[in-house]
């Protein structure tokens, strides 16, 4: 009976994972398809991978995407981490107001966030890469704050004070006591900001202006004319990179835990 239940559980999990990963499998297969058509299998080829670097449009969009994603997630992490520390030490009432405002971009519909930022930006600056970076910071800062705050809340104040009593400067005490404790939160906040920025379409679409293209907006314009197969190849590479990277981070974390035990 227990085995049947266990088998059914695994079967159900398998189905859900199949549902989540089936489209990804389709795209990986398409990246090796020697045919421009999406529905016809024309034999196995590496040519989309080999052509990739000579496709200027795609390389430009990749460059733009990387610049926007990295700069916005790094800036959001700095802004969000210092904000979380500040909010943690605020009076309760002020902290509540700040957290309420932090919730707005999370709860607002993407389309409304994108449009409202566009309406603001068009007044003061021409739309371009810079406005997209600002917009991406705007929607990713809350993820950083909400990842760092719980770490601060579980931090024992006594340790920090003990360090100070023992003669540490505030900076030194922060670096040695507070930072190691909140770092996992900072890292997961950064990774979430990175993921959200990379995967975003809607907000980029409204704030990018003419001539700027990230991979997402480029794909959107190509949907009608047909996707360049090199894009399947590029996405497969990015996906596998992320897979390896996250696996490494995960198992490194696991290893540390084992040592701690």
């Amino acid at each position: 009976m227990i085995n049947v239940k266990k088998g059914a559980s695994y079967f159900y999990l398998g189905l859900v994972f199949l549902f989540l990963y089936a489209p990804i499998l389709v795209l990986i297969v398409l990246s090796f398809n020697n045919s421009m058509s999406r529905t016809v299998w024309g034999g196995f080829t590496f040519k989309w991978y080999l052509n990739l670097t000579s496709n200027d449009d795609i390389m430009a969009a990749l460059g733009t995407t990387i610049r926007i994603t990295l700069s916005s997630s790094i800036l959001a992490t700095i802004l969000g981490t210092s904000a979380a520390i500040g909010i943690h030490y605020m009076k309760k009432r002020h902290a509540a107001i700040m957290l309420g405002a932090t919730n707005i971009p999370l709860l607002n519909a993407d389309i409304v966030t994108g449009i409202s930022l566009m309406l603001l930006f068009t007044r003061f600056t021409p739309l371009g890469e810079f406005s997209v970076v600002l917009a991406h910071i705007a929607f990713s800062v809350p993820y950083v704050i909400f990842n760092v705050l719980p770490r601060l809340q579980s931090l024992s104040e006594a340790c920090y004070e003990a360090a100070m009593d023992l003669g540490a400067t505030p900076t030194y005490a922060f670096a040695k006591v507070v930072w190691p404790e909140i770092f996992p939160g900072v890292l997961s906040g950064f990774l979430m900001a990175l993921t959200m920025s990379l995967d975003d379409f809607t907000i980029t679409y409204f704030t990018k202006g003419a001539g700027v293209n990230t991979l997402s907006t480029m794909l959107y314009t190509q949907l009608r004319k047909g996707i360049q197969p090199e894009l399947y190849a590029l996405s497969t590479i990015l996906f596998l990179l992320a897979f390896v990277l996250l696996l490494v981070i995960n198992f490194k974390g696991e290893g540390k835990k084992e040592v701690a035990k």
């Binding site: 089936a22 529905t39 500040g86 700040m98 705007a138 995967d199 379409f201 990015l238 897979f243 995960n250």
Partner: protein, 275 residues
């Protein structure tokens, strides 16, 4: 105390940021919504929702978002429960498995569904190979709902999983010791204690589903017009920013409304539990 006060100033740049990049844009959208193209005050952009075309797409959006949320909840709860019972020590790995698909471009993943669901697509090839009738759901409401369930499912699974992992296992054991069977334990202990996760899951799925326009564009083929599509077209094709802003405000009102309903459900039952 003085030190705490000083440290709180670390949030000052963010406070400024919130004013400029969160509050100000909302005031702008409100400003556009309440003025006509000549700049005079009007409510016409808000009352435009009563136009049958807009009303129809709003109603369709609500139906699709509701259906998406229910399906996500039904699929996600058992997943979260099974994952919780697997007793995997490495929680990060679970989160990782559900976040990983996001690293394949969102637009491409939805496009892949187009390929899977099309009339001579992968799904129908499999169905006809095993002798089942084929499905013709691409460019219908069903395909749009499926796409949204696919896109938002992780947002339902993760909060429920987190809520379940906070439950003290001894409470469950105590219920069993006191003679509760599996079903009673589940309905009286597990579900109420994971309610916060369920509610944040519902909000995290319902809100984006209500306002999405890309999924309906790709899997609805222009035939499924959601309120998000109407707003997008006002900004890109019709270039009527005032009307687009007005409809955005209406959409926001619906989002706030649905969230306050959910929070009310949360509060009243929390209050009940305290008594």
């Amino acid at each position: 105390m003085n030190n705490r006060f000083k440290t709180s100033f670390l949030a000052a740049p963010y406070a400024l940021w919130v004013l400029i990049c969160t509050i100000l844009p909302l005031l702008y959208i409100l400003g556009y919504a309440l003025t006509s193209s000549t700049g005079s005050f009007t409510l016409a952009n808000l009352t435009a929702i009563a136009d049958p075309v807009h009303l129809k797409s709003l109603w369709l959006s609500i139906k699709v978002a509701f259906l998406t949320t229910v399906i996500c909840l039904v699929i996600a709860y058992p997943v979260a429960l099974i994952l919780h019972n697997l007793k995997i020590t490495n929680k990060g790995f679970i989160v990782f498995m559900f976040i990983l698909p996001m690293w394949m471009n969102f637009m491409l993943r939805i496009l892949a569904w187009q390929i899977i669901l099309s009339n001579n697509g992968i799904l129908n090839s499999i169905l006809s190979a095993v002798g089942l009738p084929t499905l013709h759901i691409l460019y219908t409401k069903s395909a749009v709902t499926l796409g949204m369930v696919y896109d938002f499912l992780p947002y339902m699974i993760l909060p429920i999983y987190n809520a379940l992992s906070k439950i003290n296992d001894q409470v469950i054991e105590a219920a069993a010791d006191l003679g509760a069977n599996w079903l009673t334990t589940f309905t009286k202990i597990t579900i109420p204690l994971s309610k916060d996760g369920i509610i944040s899951g519902i909000i995290m799925v319902f809100v984006p589903a209500l306002s999405s326009f890309v999924v309906s564009n790709l899997l609805g083929g222009g035939k499924v017009l959601l309120i998000g599509n109407v707003i997008e077209q006002e900004f890109t094709l019709a270039r009527n920013w005032n009307l687009g802003s007005g409809l955005s405000i209406i959409l926001m009102i619906f989002v706030i409304l649905s969230m306050s309903i959910m929070n009310k459900v949360d509060d009243s039952e929390n209050g009940g539990m305290l008594v």
